[in-house]
């Protein structure tokens, strides 16, 4: 038997976090502890680990987000849990350099294999996710178009979006129209629905 692998588990919901910890502990060579993703733990107090298993939904936010903080702390030794239905989450994890991508619909032993693979510094990619990554997991919108739709999805009216992005209302309407066309939506609400369900916003 090899050395113990230290694991940190990050998931928003405490009960599911405990459940994942319990699942990983079924492997005697794993030394597991749980971390609340919102806990503002200073880096020097954060649990050190060989691998961080993280729910893909926790990797939100830009450069200052939780994803960036976890990457700064654990490097590429991240095993991200997600599904083929969330290409946005998938792409964010992949582009961020996470070595492990595990399908939430995989059997439990896949997660354990992924953890051991990533602990050795090797890449682990569930094949169900590889296909989703290859098939049009490119973000179709420009940063501006995505910005406009993201503000709209939070309920902001055109005038407010224009003010916040320092654009004219006409320009906001143009970005919106282009974005709706690009994602193949029927209208604004439809475009927001498509972006959200793919995990782009």
């Amino acid at each position: 038997m090899g050395e113990m692998v230290r694991i940190v588990v990050v998931h928003d919901e405490k009960l599911l976090r405990s459940a994942l910890v319990e699942l990983l502990r079924s492997d005697d060579t794993l030394d597991v502890c749980a971390l609340c993703p919102d806990a503002d733990v200073p880096d020097r107090e954060a649990p050190s680990a060989d691998v961080c298993v993280v729910d893909g939904e926790c990797l939100t936010g830009g450069d200052d987000g939780r994803g960036a903080r976890l990457r700064a702390r654990y490097g590429d030794r991240l095993v991200v849990l997600t599904t083929a239905k969330r290409p946005g989450v998938l792409r964010r994890a992949f582009d961020g350099g996470a070595l492990g991508l595990v399908d939430k619909n995989a059997p439990a032993n896949r997660l354990i294999t992924a953890v051991h693979t990533v602990a050795k510094g090797e890449r682990f990619l569930d094949e169900t996710l590889t296909v989703a990554l290859l098939k049009g997991a490119e973000m179709p919108l420009t940063t501006r178009e995505l910005g406009v739709l993201t503000l709209a999805s939070q309920g902001a009216p055109i005038a407010e979006i224009a003010a916040r992005l320092h654009l004219s209302r006409g320009t906001v309407r143009n970005y919106m129209a282009t974005a709706i066309r690009k994602v193949g939506a029927r209208n604004r609400v439809d475009a927001i629905r498509i972006l959200q369900s793919a995990g782009w916003t």
Copy 2:
């Protein structure tokens, strides 16, 4: 030690389902098996159980939905996992007669306590959820208003909503306006966002 309690676990994501099974198995008096909520198992072949632990997000759909099917199968012996942020899911579970309501942010032993309580035919309500149930967990919209907004949230334009609900466009617009006002939203997108995040649609 009492008799063994037979548990069925229902969660959309296989990995999390396995993790919950593992967590429950840490109690030696529980006999646990997992069930895929989308599996169209005929009732006579469904695993029999004393208690069904189910992710609240699986209790969607109306009378023919998965929630109704689980209730028909396991009666009131349901332990539903949800959070205070989803009053719609909470209310649906409560009104449907589920005996157990457990906060997804509760520690693991709360779930185990809930399972034993419900197995005895008694009610288990996490106090964090009780407050959310008492505080405005009433659905503010009429069935018609909710119907209009639900179709809109799927990307349907006004004309299509009117045709599908056999209403005039003007009536659809009126329902929409009332619904937006009632939920305190700024516009249609905002109203949809509020309803979805509360778990009403």
